[in-house]
């Protein structure tokens, strides 16, 4: 069996989530990868260094077309001939592209797997993680996205795969790339951070939400948010954790002023240690928290910082 993994990268460096996808793929067979980028040379080099990768297909594209689902899905479908499985880490990009490629191949995709039982059988959460379904695919090829948090990342260095430059199929067909707006952050990436500090409705406003930064700084943490915090404009959408946001599983997750609705829990309940700070002792977040403090977060936050400074 041979697996084609579609890799995500940032600034030419393969994302940790995609290295987890390599780990999942090696459980299924030999691994080739595809990477598309304005500067594919750097990304391809980074991909070729991951142990376990045999061959890297690299698309250099400076037109913005590699940001579009249409040509990338067509390319995946075109490459699919030689592979039994097409796999990617669940990300907005993969979710945009892989189902389209699956349709071109007449395959029912298997999204967000958390375990591989055998080459046909996979475990995936349904109903916002309220249940786990074990499903067996009858398709000749499997098109899969996986939860990075469920697989350890492959190392970044040590491999030496061959690199082949290939071209994107012609024209996106009616779709034009206009612009991308990325918010810049010096913090660790939410999905791979060791510690995540998240704020909810209890942060009250944008100004107050920034109060989480000094705590996150002390812990080297990424910052996350509930849907309510995002909806009210405290932070932008890429901070959202949950069923429809990012799925995280850090060593430590600190929920500040988050009630813990099932849609939020869906994104963080696999964290190793969960801390909740909430003034409502009945808040559902306490049912999953290892450590909780009932109280006003605006009082507790500075105390936490002081304690960390003291003992640190």
């Amino acid at each position: 069996m041979t697996v084609l993994v579609y890799l995500d990268h940032e600034g030419g460096v393969i994302r940790q989530a995609s290295r987890s996808a390599i780990t999942a793929a090696t459980k299924l067979g030999d691994v080739d990868v595809l990477v598309t980028s304005p500067d594919a040379a750097a990304a391809a080099k980074s991909a070729a260094a991951i142990p376990g990768v045999k061959k890297v297909f690299a698309v250099t594209d400076t037109t913005g077309n590699s940001e579009l689902a249409e040509p990338v899905a067509a390319l995946l479908a075109q490459l699919a001939g030689n592979y039994t499985h097409i796999l990617a880490a669940s990300s907005a990009t993969a979710k945009n592209v892989l189902p389209r490629a699956a349709a071109l191949l007449d395959v029912q995709p298997i999204p967000d797997i958390v375990a591989i039982n055998d080459a046909e059988t996979f475990v995936r959460p349904i109903y916002a993680g309220s249940a786990l379904a074990t499903v067996k695919s009858a398709d000749a090829k499997k098109v899969i996205t996986m939860r990075a948090s469920a697989f350890d990342p492959a190392p970044a260095e040590g491999g030496s795969a061959t690199i082949e430059e290939i071209a994107l199929p012609a024209g996106p067909g009616g779709s034009t790339f206009v612009a991308t707006e990325l918010s810049k952050s010096e913090r660790p990436e939410l999905e791979s951070a060791r510690v995540v500090v998240s704020g909810g409705n209890g942060m009250l406003n944008e100004e107050n939400f920034k109060l989480l930064e000094p705590l996150a700084d002390r812990l080297g943490a990424a910052i996350g948010a509930s849907r309510a915090a995002v909806d009210k404009g405290f932070v932008s959408n890429e901070y959202q954790v949950g069923q429809t946001g990012k799925i995280v599983a850090p060593e430590l997750y600190i929920a500040m002023g988050i009630s813990g609705q099932i849609q939020h829990l869906a994104g963080m309940k696999d964290s190793k240690v969960i801390v909740a700070i909430n003034k409502d002792p009945e808040a559902p977040i306490f049912q999953v928290a290892d450590y909780g403090i009932v109280g006003d977060l605006f009082t507790i936050l500075p105390q936490l910082e002081a304690e960390l400074d003291k003992a640190g």
Binding site: P109, G173, N237
Partner: protein, 249 residues
């Protein structure tokens, strides 16, 4: 311009689903069902485009059991003009749904198809992309803003790390994210009016679509339960526990 909006009947999002004791699935008997929340947003967006005078007709479609009629009535109470029920008792997989929708698109020739980004039961997040692939038409998933002008639609979409804007030639497929709009509640008079709006009933066989699922469910189980931990009295105790007991800082 015509818009097609596929709407799915799912367990209401406020209800915690229960896994059946025999591990074959999730209990739906006697459970409150509603329109998939993302589909409400898709309907709302279509209705707003109609209110702006951009859209002339909205057709809601549901594929599922006879009871999906309720969902279609809700869509019509929100403002859809007519609806189509494609009746089947089989579990609806995105690939099969996309094939049904493709057949309907070929028949109805809508300029825009607005779906939800994800059904909150199967959490597949696939149908819109698959329909676009089958139709060989452009797609804009996870839309947070939609503007139609001069035979094209400009969509701002949510991506990892920010947002992206793309422009699509019509006909095009859009999937709605939560931030696109806030759906309205259907008013009582509109609920009454919706009863008189036309609903066509057909079967997948009428459209020549085989609904047989490609994924068979081996088992469905409860996820490992997390236990509630301890409540602490002070920040000092929390820091001490995190350092010495959990050893995560």
């Amino acid at each position: 311009m015509k818009v097609l909006v596929p709407v799915k009947r799912v367990i209401d999002y406020n209800i915690k689903p229960r896994v059946k004791a025999d591990g074959t699935g999730v209990e739906t008997a006697g459970v409150k069902m509603s329109m998939n929340p993302f589909d409400e947003i898709a309907v709302e967006e279509a209705v707003r485009l109609k209110e702006k005078g951009v859209v002339s007709e909205i057709i809601a479609v549901s594929i599922g059991e006879a009871k999906a009629q309720d969902t279609l009535r809700t869509a019509m109470a929100m403002g859809a003009d007519r609806s189509i029920l494609v009746e089947t008792d089989v579990v609806t997989e995105p690939l099969a749904v996309a094939k049904v929708l493709k057949a309907l698109v070929e028949k109805e020739k809508p300029d825009l198809i607005i779906l939800g980004k994800q059904a909150i039961d199967d959490d597949m997040n696939a149908t819109g992309q698959m329909l676009a692939g089958l139709l060989d038409r452009p797609q804009a998933t996870f839309a947070s803003k939609v503007e139609v002008a001069d035979g094209a639609v400009t969509v701002t979409r949510e991506i990892d790390g920010g947002s992206q804007t793309i422009k699509l030639a019509l006909p095009a497929i859009i999937t709605a994210d939560l931030r696109l709009n806030e759906p309205r509640y259907a008013s009582l008079p509109n609920i009454m009016k919706a009863r008189k709006k036309p609903m066509e009933k057909i079967t997948p066989a009428d459209l020549g679509v085989d609904m047989t699922p490609r994924l068979s469910v081996v088992s469905v189980s409860e996820p490992p339960e997390r236990k509630a931990g301890v409540k602490l009295d002070s920040a000092a105790e929390l820091v001490s526990r995190l350092r010495n007991e959990a050893k995560v800082i």
